[in-house]
Symmetry: C2
Subunit: 326 residues, 2 copies
Amino acid sequence: MPSYNLAIVGMGNVARALLRLLISKETDLRRRYDIRWRLTGIATRRLGWVADPDGLNPLAVLHGHPVTPHGAAAASPPRNVREWLERARADVLFEATSLNVETGQPATDHLKAALECGAHAITANKGPIVHAYHELCALAKEAKKQFLFESTVMDGVPVFSLFPFGLPATDIRGFTGVLNSTTNVVLTEIEKGRSLDEAVKRAQAMGIAETDPTADLDGWDSAVKIVALAIVLMGVDVKLENVQRTGIRELSEEKVRSVRSSGTGVDLRVSPELLLTTDPLANLEGSSSALRFDLDVFGLSFVEHNPGVEATGYGLLADFLRAVQP
Amino acid sequence: MPSYNLAIVGMGNVARALLRLLISKETDLRRRYDIRWRLTGIATRRLGWVADPDGLNPLAVLHGHPVTPHGAAAASPPRNVREWLERARADVLFEATSLNVETGQPATDHLKAALECGAHAITANKGPIVHAYHELCALAKEAKKQFLFESTVMDGVPVFSLFPFGLPATDIRGFTGVLNSTTNVVLTEIEKGRSLDEAVKRAQAMGIAETDPTADLDGWDSAVKIVALAIVLMGVDVKLENVQRTGIRELSEEKVRSVRSSGTGVDLRVSPELLLTTDPLANLEGSSSALRFDLDVFGLSFVEHNPGVEATGYGLLADFLRAVQP
């Protein structure tokens, strides 16, 4: 029965949700997939690079207790991501640091290091797709490892995994969606009579909004997501600055729309939009998100109903299973 | 470049939609998937078993022109499905005959014959899943061929193909949906002021309702679909008679609901239900259908927007690609 060494960089809500799921589904993974795992590396700004090939205690990590490597591993801590991955003998890297919209760093470097060290590279961070998708795919191919990123758009909903296996020989003509959970939660709370600040605090308490909600409220998060979708699923070479982005702090609705223009290329737009009440996008409650693909053969929507942070953690777990049982 | 011999039994709307797609996507299949195909067998009640390993003219089939096998193939026509499959040297059988709710025949026998003759067995017919799912899976495993049936529920929407690859290590706790296109079209037409009869005729003219719409209007079609979903995705051994089915001829809404009961087993129900206008299921127009899965990690819905019969044909085409490039 194969056992995999897992390393996680970034220990925020998403990484913690992943760890909880790994623990709660441990028996299930063994029985259904014949898979065992061991946590051999964690890295955070506070703790630095912590690695132990004999395994760290995941419950201690979750409860914020000190995690100390044993024996030789304790002697001199790794000084960078490569030393850390090697010391952890990592088979899989989970990249869960927070998004840097402008550079996609340091997430991209973490993923490159993983692939170069012979580990699968799995990310919940959208930055690397927007800034280094082709480079990371090429590295993964060369290393015969997987570069996976399902949780970057709609958490664990298999948006990327669906293509091409689920929908072979289709053409995507465009897509439309509500992709930012924080905004949706904030708007729902405002509808209930709360102020913007109170609403943001509630979204943070739910583990959905980040400490700095700017990326969400100003549409950056959605813009990064639609660029990722366009690059990966439509095969077009777009940049973040190609997105027409309208801030939505004062507004009551967010809609992400992408329509392939009649000429070459793709138009990408993030903006608040008024919807008919019969529009499925108008009835999304709380943290729900939705994405509609206009394919040549039919139109297909996905709706994720009021997910918690567990759903994003699940996306990482699912990528792990896809990587090791492709 | 591999070329596959295709045989189609049943030449109604769905099979014709498949043929049109095969023709329109011929170049695409060659370029993107390195796949060629040839139509070597068709069978209908009117024409009988027609096979020619050198290929029949698909355009003649579509236009209802006579299709005559050449040379030796013309001498004595095949007398049954096995002779036909062998004469056609079929690599893939598409089963597109109409549904027999009680027995699942003769579709089940066609699929068995295909697998026993070494062809992939692809069906748009739900009967065989309800009546012979395990037997057909076992035959496919033995023959190292694929038994696929994506188009039986929600046309080409990858409901079955999504599991387990797209959603590994999840538990399905239940599902709810609007699964019958004919009913939805009929209700939409009635809302516009038409009578039931007129509405049914329109649905037939659109190629969505069958000549005898009883199976749709009395909920049999939906009942067969939820049994298929329960058998395949939840792994439970249910029969059609376990479904609580309420006819809907007089009613304004159809809802299919399946909820796993707290004890063992599964409760399956087809019935008309009043919905809140904010319910995504209440806003499905025309031939649209929807399916919501309640998973342990989140809730996920699919909506197929106003598909035509092309969407069902696409489900068969997609299964063909999945079978030959697994």
